[in-house]
């Protein structure tokens, strides 16, 4: 990829996240190599790639949970650690420990845990955003997969983050719950201006939803608007052994 392709969204917007030649290795294995791109404020980025491509690792590097072996990551000009001291980042991991769902904790308690002493209005706002206000007194163990996803997203949003990182948010939920979730994500991006970075295998769906697509396979394979990126030539580079090209996109 040429460097001019690596700056996402319109040039008038400020840079939100920048990765400069980031490489991450562990136990002698290189998970990500020479990752270099910038994301502008207000982006809706879908991150796709085969299993083991380093998608989750990329999110953890941006969050500062993992440290790059080489290179530098900046969020609004700050290191992830410095940024997190000033402002939280909403994060929905790929998997929540199943043991949590055996514990006695209601949706409302989960959401309240996201911020110190939230007001009733703030809690209601987060619950209403995901249409889960009537479920607020229910325990997590009583909820479906889709309802749990909404509860965790509401918890992530109660602190009003500017960035939301989602790792496979539509996995394990039915099509109706998926559509509801996508609609909410679209609203968060367009109405509230929250920048979204979504790791997904659901290429066809996110090709319609996201404004940009990052194809990752240990390196940045391609990056840009969905119409330009989701073409057979790029998909063959990303998934050489499978025909994942979707005629819809």
């Amino acid at each position: 990829m040429k460097n001019e392709n690596l700056k996402l969204l319109d040039l008038n917007r400020k840079t939100l996240i920048s990765l400069w030649n980031v490489t991450y290795s562990t136990d002698g294995i290189t998970i990500l190599e020479d990752i270099h791109f910038e994301i502008k404020e207000g982006c809706y980025l879908g991150i796709i790639g085969p299993n083991g491509a380093g998608k989750t690792t990329l999110l953890k590097l941006i969050l500062g949970i993992l440290k790059p072996t080489v290179g530098e990551i900046k969020i609004k000009g700050l290191s992830p650690e410095e940024y997190l001291k000033k402002q939280p980042i909403g994060y929905l991991p790929q998997r929540i420990s199943q043991s949590l769902f055996e514990m006695p904790i209601t949706i409302e308690e989960l959401i309240r845990s996201g911020i110190f002493s939230p007001s009733e209005d703030t809690v209601k706002w987060a619950l209403d955003l995901f249409n889960i206000y009537p479920l607020r007194k229910k325990s997590l163990r009583e909820l479906s997969g889709g309802e749990r996803q909404k509860a965790f997203l509401a918890r992530a949003l109660i602190a009003k983050p500017k960035i939301l990182l989602l790792d496979e948010p539509t996995t394990g939920i039915d099509p109706q719950a998926r559509d509801e979730l996508l609609e909410i994500l679209e609203r968060l991006n367009s109405e509230y201006g929250i920048s979204l970075l979504v790791v997904t295998h659901d290429i066809a769906t996110f090709a319609h939803e996201s404004k940009c697509i990052l194809c990752l396979n240990r390196k940045v394979v391609c990056l840009g608007e969905p119409q330009r990126i989701l073409k057979e030539e790029y998909m063959k580079l990303l998934y050489p052994e499978h025909n994942v090209f979707h005629p819809m996109v």
Binding site: L92, M103, S113, F116, A159
Partner: protein, 266 residues
């Protein structure tokens, strides 16, 4: 019947359980959330070692117990965080080391009769000096619970989510490990090394049978813990059963009651 309240030693035990009974189950809730109840057992067995050393060298051991428990707690947490040893492996190592070395010290001290009170608690082992240390320990644990409850809950929910919320996960885990060690240290003389875990784990486990919320579980487990501790003192005084065992017997009854009540409700 009421002569029990005329004895200074019993009054002191009432005061001590009034301090530790509300704290222990709250710490236990976090241990259950983290699937880390075994951590309490390991530290309790390290406590057994500290008390065995005190029997051998004939000195009051509460401060040694506190120091040793905190050191082991930090060591286990560091090994777990850095992935040097599997979590269960490091816990098992310290647990068995604690028991084995305790037996060595007790055997060479020639005071094997003291083992029962160390393992299962006693009405009479808490000295006035212990009481002050227990009071200070309770204050520290209370401060942790007030100051770090939300942060610790976030760490229990998911460490990565907690990190993204701007929480210093390593710091919270370290302070929690110290608090668990301290809670066990201040409770061990009344509950005994083998049974202190029961006061931390059984009340929240019983409360979870009947409540869906964290707040409800916390409230009910404190009620269960305080009730069983007071009942246990009476049971121990009038039956001669060691205090820790008496309290645990009441707790077992409460758990069975809660478990069946939950199933009756369904």
């Amino acid at each position: 019947m009421m002569e029990i309240f005329e004895l200074d030693v019993i009054k002191r035990v009432f005061l001590v359980v009034s301090l530790i009974a509300p704290i222990a189950p709250l710490i236990g809730i976090f241990l259950l959330f983290r699937r880390y109840a075994f951590f309490a057992d390991t530290l309790a067995h390290v406590g057994f070692l500290a008390l065995a050393i005190s029997v051998f060298f004939q000195f009051n051991a509460l401060w040694l117990l506190i120091i040793l428990s905190i050191l082991v707690a930090l060591c286990v947490e560091q090994l777990r965080m850095k992935g040097k040893l599997p979590a269960e492996g490091s816990l098992s190592f310290f647990l068995y080391s604690g028991v084995a070395l305790s037996v060595v010290f007790i055997t060479f001290s020639g005071k094997t009769s003291s083992v029962i009170s160390i393992l299962f608690g006693s009405l009479s082992t808490v000295s006035e000096e212990d009481f002050y240390l227990i009071f200070i320990g309770t204050v520290f644990c209370s401060i942790f619970l007030i100051r770090y409850f939300r942060k610790m809950l976030n760490v229990c929910i998911d460490e990565d989510i907690a990190h993204a919320s701007g929480i210093d996960v390593a710091l919270v885990k370290t302070i929690f490990a110290i608090t668990v060690a301290l809670t066990i240290s201040i409770s061990i003389k009344t509950m005994g090394a083998f049974l202190i875990g029961s006061l931390m784990i059984i009340p929240p486990l019983s409360a979870m049978q009947l409540t869906k919320s964290l707040k409800g579980t916390a409230r009910l487990s404190i009620i269960y813990s305080v009730f069983s501790s007071y009942c246990g003192i009476f049971l121990s005084y009038y039956s001669g059963i060691p205090l820790g065992a008496s309290i645990s017997v009441v707790l077992i009854g409460i758990f069975i009651f809660s478990f069946f009540l939950k199933n009756l409700k369904r």
